[in-house]
């Protein structure tokens, strides 16, 4: 789908504190570890917490151009406000992934998007894992949706970022890895519309 020249453009948005920037940073780090080109930039403001936090990420094979862009290939929104805030980045080729617990009004969804996928990420994190790894599960979903980096390199990037915590508590590493893998699965299930699917898949056009 992508020509070699054009990088994959990703927007991740959520409430400040949901780990949005960590998702983008780890993805960027994983891409860098793979020897690819990556540019990550956070959208930051004066607030210490709260407010919609947005991360812009581009991954490609050629040096990346301008740090921000108008239309993303994939938009990941972790709550209702983030869906609304990131609508402007959705074009006709864009895939929007959002959490199914986000109370999104139908009219707030970007109608023009190619695909809109709602996944039970928070629910799954709470039920099967731990709410803390919600963002890692989302990270897995992004990898599942794009295949932009490998699971192995993402684990390496996670290690680089959280390795010092994993050393103290190896169970934490296991938890994060499970969240990552579960995220990949979850998106696969949603896309394939399998039995366990608790999200929905809608295609516009």
């Amino acid at each position: 789908m992508k020509t070699k020249k054009k990088p994959l453009k990703i927007v991740v948005a959520g409430e400040g504190g949901q780990g949005v920037q960590a998702i983008a940073e780890i993805l960027a780090e994983a891409a860098y570890e793979e020897g690819r080109q990556a540019l990550y930039i956070p959208n930051f403001g004066v607030e210490q917490r709260g407010g919609v936090s947005i991360a812009f990420l581009q991954i490609g094979d050629q040096p990346i151009g301008a740090p921000k862009f108008e239309t993303a290939d994939i938009v990941v929104a972790l709550n209702a406000r983030a869906v609304l805030r990131t609508r402007q980045y959705a074009g006709r080729q864009t895939i929007l992934v959002y959490d199914n617990l986000a109370e999104v009004k139908g009219e707030d969804l970007p109608r023009q998007a190619a695909r809109i996928l709602s996944i039970p990420a928070l629910e799954t994190a709470k039920r099967e894992l731990h709410p803390r790894v919600f963002n890692v599960l989302i990270l897995g979903a992004v990898i599942g949706a794009t295949g932009v980096v490998t699971l192995d390199n993402t684990k390496k990037a996670l290690e680089k970022r959280l390795g010092y915590k994993f050393e103290h508590d190896p169970k934490l590493r296991e938890l994060n890895h499970r969240a990552l893998e579960r995220g990949v699965e979850l998106l696969g299930q949603v896309i394939q519309g399998g039995k366990e699917q608790s999200g929905e898949l809608r295609a516009h056009n």
Partner: protein, 381 residues
């Protein structure tokens, strides 16, 4: 990581016992880091001795990383009470013969202009890194290119300073190192002008030890406290920023003007892309240059004759090269995240030429390649 001993730069008078620790920058290393971190590493690689600073977003992490790195290599840091003090202590460091620098942004850059003017008057090689944020006033902590006029001509003087505008993190590393060399070689204050995007974004770059690449690092020299009796063993050092008569000031400034104009051609830098046969010439600097470059690539693919001129030095501006490129074009389009600041510099440089000038001015916000493409097509159609 192979360390490199600081003692290899034995010709460096300021090398002290405390700074004999190995420089951690390897021969060459591919890294993935933010611009603020890049500046701190570049200053270490340039063998800077001390940073003075006061926190302001988006440059805070320059200080954070420097204070992490500095103690390991016998480097020093002083946090001052504001940017005026940060600027004047940087001057103090320079007078004492240290490679001293500071970093600031926005309102901090305004306060920095008073010490910067003093550095111009006294010909002091201070290095200042600017991460532009939105203005006027506190505005945003995020990004802009609105500190161009302030940084090039912000003092109560003639702008005897050098301003490098970087477009990405590799350049931020390269030009931060270069800034120290330019400052100490020519004895004018040097600014590295970046922005909040470059401060906060992460991208791959190669960091290196300039000495391992065979680059020269211009050694600092003491201004005050040199050995010998002034006027007997050595000429006295007159470092003045106050003059009693108009004529006296005029004479000194004539010297500054001549020296600045003499060295300017050696300092001027620019990048041009597809300018030879361009009907439309896009002029942009810094990170916006990347959007312009992408736009040119796309428009060329569509068979449109568009080129891009990116001044790297905003002061002194490569006016000759710019006039040359513009004289071949039918129209020019100035693109910047400000309302005509680069536009002013460009108009000044082009005075006398006849060309249609258009703009895409977006004060305080980023410019995407898509917008540049759309605006360019309007002008070509």
């Amino acid at each position: 990581m192979t360390g490199l001993s600081e003692s290899t730069s034995a010709n460096r008078p300021a090398a002290r016992a405390g700074s004999s620790a190995t420089i951690p920058v390897p021969g060459e290393k591919r890294v993935f880091m933010t611009g603020n971190e890049v500046v701190a590493w570049a200053a270490i690689a340039a063998r800077a001795d001390i940073m003075y600073g006061y926190p302001i977003t988006p440059q805070n992490e320059v200080m954070h990383y420097w204070t992490r790195l500095a103690p390991k290599f016998g480097k020093e840091f002083l946090q001052t009470e504001d940017e005026l003090a940060a600027g004047f202590t940087t001057i103090g460091g320079v007078l004492a013969g240290k490679k001293a620098f500071t970093a600031t942004a926005g309102p901090g850059n305004i306060l920095m202009q008073e010490p910067a003017s003093m550095a111009e008057m006294m010909r002091l090689p201070v290095v200042v890194v600017i991460m532009q944020r939105g203005g006027p006033s506190t505005a945003t902590v995020i990004y802009s290119q609105q500190e161009v006029i302030l940084t090039t001509f912000g003092g109560n003087g003639e702008g005897f300073r050098i301003v490098y505008s970087t477009s990405g993190l590799q350049e931020l590393y390269d030009y931060t190192i270069k800034a120290f060399n330019t400052a100490w070689r020519y004895r004018f204050p040097v600014f590295v002008l970046a922005d909040g995007y470059q401060a906060k974004m992460r991208e791959p770059l190669t960091i290196y030890d300039p000495l391992a690449r065979g680059m020269e690092l211009v050694p600092p020299e003491q201004y005050v406290g040199r050995p010998g009796m002034p006027g007997v063993d050595r000429p006295p050092g007159h470092y003045r920023n106050t003059y009693n008569t108009e004529e006296e000031l005029y004479e000194i400034l004539q010297g500054h003007v001549q020296e600045y104009e003499r060295v300017a051609p050696e300092i001027m830098e620019h990048e041009s892309l597809e300018t030879e046969d361009a009907d439309l010439l896009i002029i942009a600097h810094g990170v916006v240059g990347r959007a312009a470059k992408q736009a040119v690539e796309q428009l060329r693919e569509e068979g449109l004759k568009v080129g891009c001129f990116r001044p790297v030095t905003l002061r002194p501006l490569s006016a000759g090269a710019l006039r040359d490129a513009v004289s071949r074009a039918k129209r020019i389009l100035v693109v910047e995240s400000a309302y005509g600041q680069l536009g002013k510099l460009v108009r000044d440089a082009l005075c006398g030429l006849v060309v249609e000038m258009f703009s895409l001015y977006k004060p305080g916000v980023g410019v995407t390649p898509e917008e540049v493409v759309i605006r360019s097509k309007e002008l070509i159609a």
